[in-house]
């Protein structure tokens, strides 16, 4: 574990930030901490995600970026703090209570999630994977579903091969199918855990364009985890940086670059020396 002292940047974080002028924020984290045993992964993270923004969260491997995403959808429960999604505190919901579970499910229906390794259903074809959420949560006819599935698959650059099973696909193809599945219902918020890792640069750029296109046409809020600084520069309007469990920088892209925070600088300059240390 990297042990470093990093000041927490106040930039744009904290409840209330970003609410000025526009609608209520999509997501607000207040002082979220999460440990596994004596391993403190998140240490008091606070941030606000504006509705209709594209936030890219950067950070070295193993700093809890995936843990953070999982807290948003209630797959993990933070030890302390609040996770407000459209005003509802996900962290306070008790899954063993039927009523809370219903609330949680109602919130989750507003999310689409691309897992780090795709998490495609092994026993379903590509087609059925993308059709699954539509069959479940909409009244669309099979013909309408077909049209949408094919459209989504075309958008991620997959023509043909709808009847293949995930095991028959390359890693990059699986990821694209998983992205198609995540946006299948055109949800309010799409979470992407490292969408570009494992993709070639051209495919990665195609996916970035798709993200921006979905953002423009549907106003989807994206929260994207990435190692890819080029991707962050291209798609983000907000950039966050997580290191050692702290949110060391968070704010509008131009501001974050202008401030030239050491951790951000190190990340973009690909320097081995700096606040982020590999032990």
């Amino acid at each position: 574990m990297a042990k470093t002292e990093i000041q927490t940047h106040g930039l744009g974080s904290g409840p209330g930030a970003g609410t000025a002028g526009d609608a209520a924020p999509a997501v607000v984290l207040e002082n979220v901490s999460k440990s596994f045993g004596d391993h403190h992964v998140l240490r008091g993270v606070s941030l606000t995600i504006r509705r209709g923004s594209i936030t890219v969260m950067l950070g070295p491997s193993g700093t809890g970026k995936s843990v953070l995403l999982r807290c948003l959808v209630g797959l993990l429960k933070p030890d302390t703090g609040r996770v407000l999604v459209f005003g509802e505190d996900v962290a306070a919901l008790d899954e063993t209570k039927a009523k809370d579970r219903e609330k949680l499910f109602a919130i989750r229906r507003r999310f689409g999630m691309l897992f780090q390794d795709g998490a495609l259903f092994d026993d379903m074809t590509v087609y059925d994977n993308v059709a699954f959420p539509m069959r479940l949560h909409t009244d669309l006819s099979e013909a309408e579903i077909r049209e949408r599935v094919i459209d989504k698959l075309h958008r991620v650059g997959l023509k043909g091969g709808e009847q293949k099973f995930p095991a028959e696909l390359s890693g990059g193809m699986r990821k694209r199918v998983a992205f198609a599945r995540a946006i299948a219902l055109e949800p309010d918020i799409v979470l992407c855990d490292e969408p570009s890792s494992g993709l070639d640069p051209v495919m990665s750029a195609t996916l970035d364009e798709l993200i921006m296109e979905m953002h423009r046409s549907l106003g989807i809020t994206f929260i994207i985890i990435s190692h890819d600084t080029a991707e962050a520069k291209m798609v983000a309007d907000t950039i966050g940086m997580l290191a050692n469990g702290h949110l060391v920088a968070f704010g509008p892209k131009e501001e974050v670059f202008r401030e030239d925070h050491p951790a951000i600088h190190q990340f973009f300059a690909r320097e081995t020396q700096g606040p982020i240390k590999v032990v």
């Binding site: 959808v73 999310f111 897992f115 998490a119 495609l120 949560h137």
Partner: protein, 255 residues
């Protein structure tokens, strides 16, 4: 000593977790209909997929019953009792229990491995995030499939096993076919077959709930090794439980 206490504590917690899981799963199983496609594919997997193995094993077991009992009964001229022996020992105990243990192990291993694999590859989380109850979509169809397939397999094992005993007795050991059949008719009642199938029903559910528990609760961070461990535990715990429960049931039904 504190190590022992910690071990006991760990088992205790695991036991509690199992009971909670089983209660939740049973509630889901009984209050919601499992998705049809998932159930059908699980049922075909559990039932049809076990037929080859079960057929082969019960043929050998049935033949063996005849051959073994012939050796013992012949000494006092009682070789004609083979039909009775195969009927009682086979239909009441050997065939259904063998079906339950062997097919149970096979089915349990499959269930545990498939769920564990879905856990480590985050497929179960994906269900959760899609606001789908994995208990209903993944666990319940598996429970129903095993609970309904195993009694059918037990009934099937009776016929194949008894048939093999008959063929062995008549064609290998030259016994009188009429006497074999009369004894079977005298000794084996249809209710014995149903009792075996009832055992299969109970064991099917128990094997499945244990397997689902081990598979479902595997830690994602344990990776492929976790899949192996959970599969192993499913087989061992399922088989032990089958034997113990069978003994208890035999006591209750025939004791």
């Amino acid at each position: 000593m504190s190590k022992l206490a910690a071990t006991i504590d760990a088992y205790w917690n695991k036991g509690l977790a199992f009971l909670r899981f089983a209660a939740h799963a049973l509630r889901t199983q009984l209050t919601t209909l499992p998705p049809r496609d998932a159930f059908v594919s699980q049922f075909v997997d559990a039932g049809w997929g076990s037929l080859g193995l079960l057929t082969m094993l019960t043929i050998f077991a049935g033949l063996n019953l005849s051959v073994q009992s012939y050796g013992s009964f012949e000494r006092f001229g009682g070789q004609d009792l083979i039909g009775m022996f195969a009927g009682i020992g086979g239909v009441r105990e050997l065939f259904p229990v063998m079906a339950a243990v062997v097919c149970g192990a096979r089915i349990g291993a499959n269930l545990a491995a498939s769920l564990a694999n879905m856990r480590i590859s985050e497929q179960i989380d994906a269900f959760e995030v899609m606001a789908v109850d994995p208990m209903r979509f993944l666990v319940a169809p598996r429970l129903w499939a095993a609970t309904l397939a195993l009694p059918l397999l037990c009934g099937y094992a009776d016929f194949i096993g008894l048939g093999a005993s008959y063929l062995g007795a008549v064609y290998q050991l030259d016994l009188d076919p009429g006497s074999f059949l009369t004894q079977v008719q005298d000794q084996v009642r249809m209710v014995d077959v149903f009792a075996g199938m009832f055992k299969g029903l109970l064991m099917g559910w128990m094997v499945a709930i244990i397997a689902c528990f081990h598979g479902y609760t595997v830690k994602a961070s344990d990776g492929a090794e976790g899949v192996g461990i959970s599969t192993n535990l499913a087989i061992v715990h399922g088989a032990v439980l089958c034997i113990v429960v069978n003994l208890l049931l035999s006591w209750v039904m025939y004791g």
